[in-house]
């Protein structure tokens, strides 16, 4: 085709990934570029398709928790929680109150650690090579040590059970979490100073990858991506699960739906999570941590289907569970937030500069483990 000055131009196809330092895992993007402009983008996923949903059909409810740990491998507690909530919903039971508080605290801590991971990775995407990563991981490591003290594992906890949690928290749990929180407050401030108002960072992210509220809803986006576009949908507030209706917290909303808003929403969410944890620590009652059913793991939900969703760090993580009344579920469908957020990538990347494609992808904060399952 002839360009403006009568020069013949051809569209170039540019392949990014599956091994690319800035694709956050094994993700492939085929970009159709016209000079520096991206005309179209096609996401190719499936490089980490491990067949978790199929494997769930042969394992019992206790064993499946280990598979759910490995879906969104940055927010393991949240994943376990959703599956356990789904099974509990089908069985019509509820975890004891103390267990619910422990779950809340762990999930919110995990949200912070996940956003810290995002902070580091996003800094790298924008060009602050290792510095942001170093700061993000310094905070993350402290949280992981708490996780290890509670569940015994740094990442794959298998701590939340159907009907409760696996074991009582250690004796020094409350003071320790409080100490971690006060450290985190300082850490978040430091991270904030490093990046948030940085002029180069603003230049790279302001007005880039704008997603309108209408589009975000239409694509089924959720989590910070949706809220950055100004839609106040947070499952913790819209359909309170656990004990979230007892806490007061804000839902940070973006204005324009650009990359900076998505970043800012996450930074604010960390502060909100800290406040939620503080409230939970004060309110946490004594008592049992498991219902009798959780002790032995012989979970057999009655026949039926249920859908449960919860607010993961990446958005609205849902499980559609179909049971036939056996020891293994009949069908588990996982609605992964990154999977749905990634659908909107094409819309956002179109028309932007090539260099911004990485920034936009980074701002979605995808985890391929749950995109591909």
């Amino acid at each position: 085709m002839a360009g403006e000055r009568g020069v013949e131009t051809v569209d170039m196809l540019l392949n990014m990934g599956p091994q690319h330092p800035s694709t956050h895992g094994v993700f492939r993007m085929i970009l159709k570029v016209d000079g520096e402009r991206v005309e179209d983008a096609e996401a190719v996923v499936g490089y980490l398709h491990r067949g978790s949903e199929k494997l769930c059909e042969r394992e019992n409810y206790r064993q499946i928790i280990t598979l759910f740990d490995r879906l969104d491998y940055i927010s393991n507690f949240n994943n376990e929680l959703v599956f356990c909530l789904a099974a509990e919903k089908l069985m019509g039971i509820e975890a004891p109150e103390r267990a619910q508080y422990i779950r809340t605290i762990m999930c919110e801590l995990n949200r912070i650690s996940s956003h810290m991971m995002f902070y580091g990775a996003y800094g790298t995407d924008v060009g602050v090579f290792a510095t942001a990563f170093m700061y993000g991981f310094r905070e993350r490591e402290v949280i992981q040590q708490v996780f290890e003290a509670v569940s015994g594992a740094r990442m794959m906890h298998s701590y939340i059970r159907v009907g409760g949690v696996a074991q009582e928290v250690p004796a020094d749990f409350v003071p320790r979490v409080r100490a971690v929180l006060s450290g985190l407050k300082r850490g978040i401030e430091e991270c904030d100073r490093l990046l948030t108002r940085n002029e180069i960072f603003l230049g790279r992210t302001r007005g880039i990858g704008v997603l309108s509220a209408q589009d975000a809803i239409d694509y089924g986006c959720s989590g910070p991506v949706l809220r950055a576009s100004g839609v106040p949908l947070d499952v913790r507030a819209a359909e309170p699960y656990l004990v979230y209706d007892r806490f007061t917290f804000d839902i940070p909303l973006g204005k324009s739906g650009d990359c900076w808003d998505r970043y800012w929403v996450r930074m604010e969410e960390m502060r909100q999570s800290i406040s939620i944890i503080e409230q939970a620590l004060t309110q946490m009652p004594e008592g049992a941590i498991q219902t009798p059913v959780a002790k032995f793991g012989f979970v057999k939900p009655p026949k039926g289907d249920a859908y449960v969703r919860a607010e993961n760090p990446r958005g609205d993580f849902g499980v559609y569970l179909v049971s036939e009344g056996k020891e293994t579920p009949y069908r588990v469908k996982i609605r992964a937030p990154s999977f749905c957020n990634l659908m909107a990538l094409r819309q956002m990347v179109r028309g932007s500069y090539l260099a911004d494609a990485v920034v936009i992808l980074g701002s979605l904060d995808i985890v391929l483990g749950e995109v591909d399952r």
Binding site: V45, E57, G92, E94, A171, Q290, Y307, R335, M343
Partner: protein, 189 residues
């Protein structure tokens, strides 16, 4: 100093929680809205399910989205499930404006596994449908680009999520099937 083992056998919650039932108002509303569809109604714990015939599923979805009383503008999930001799697609809906939820379902027999695509209603149905098509072999008629999403060409014609697709056998390590290259000096590739 060993940390004492905290053994706590506190009072356990023995009384069963009252069964969760969906909102009666929602049920009445759905029954009224989907009156002309020949739809069946049911429950999925706390949600009302509406099973519409698959010929009219797009129409039903559009109604669910556009009806001012329902306004289901957010597709939470689209799950395909294989039952005995039919496939079921469940459309899990949510309204961001009104904050309520419902479940729409439709069935397709196995020998004619075609369900009309709802991509025209919610663009978010795109990848869910592609996934259902490659894992279960359900054709979503009208989808613009129904190619492989998660799998690759080797799986063409094979649908791993179906119940008759076997699991792999594990291969344990034995000295015979060990790969001895780790003990050899490196060679150029």
């Amino acid at each position: 100093m060993p940390e004492p083992r905290p053994v706590r056998r506190g009072p356990e919650k023995a009384e069963p929680v009252a069964p969760v039932r969906p909102d009666a108002k929602m049920e009445a509303l759905l029954k009224e809205a989907f009156a002309g569809f020949g739809a069946a109604f049911g429950y999925a714990v706390d949600e009302v399910t509406v099973t519409a015939p698959r010929e009219r599923i797009v129409e039903a979805c559009r109604l669910a989205k556009d009806d001012p009383r329902l306004r289901f503008d957010y597709l939470r999930c689209l799950a395909v499930t294989e039952y005995g001799d039919y496939f079921q697609a469940a459309y899990l809906l949510f309204s961001t404006a009104l904050g309520h939820k419902a479940m729409l379902k439709t069935n397709a027999p196995k020998d004619d596994a075609v369900i009309p695509s709802v991509m025209g209603v919610w663009r978010g149905a795109d990848w869910h449908e592609r996934e259902g098509a490659e894992l279960f072999g359900v054709t979503f008629a009208g989808h613009p680009d129904l190619k492989h999403l998660l799998l690759f060409d080797e799986f063409s014609g094979k649908y791993p999520m179906r119940k008759d697709f076997p699991f792999e056998e594990t291969v344990d390590w034995t000295p015979e099937n060990d790969r001895p290259w780790s003990r050899l000096p490196q060679e150029g590739s």
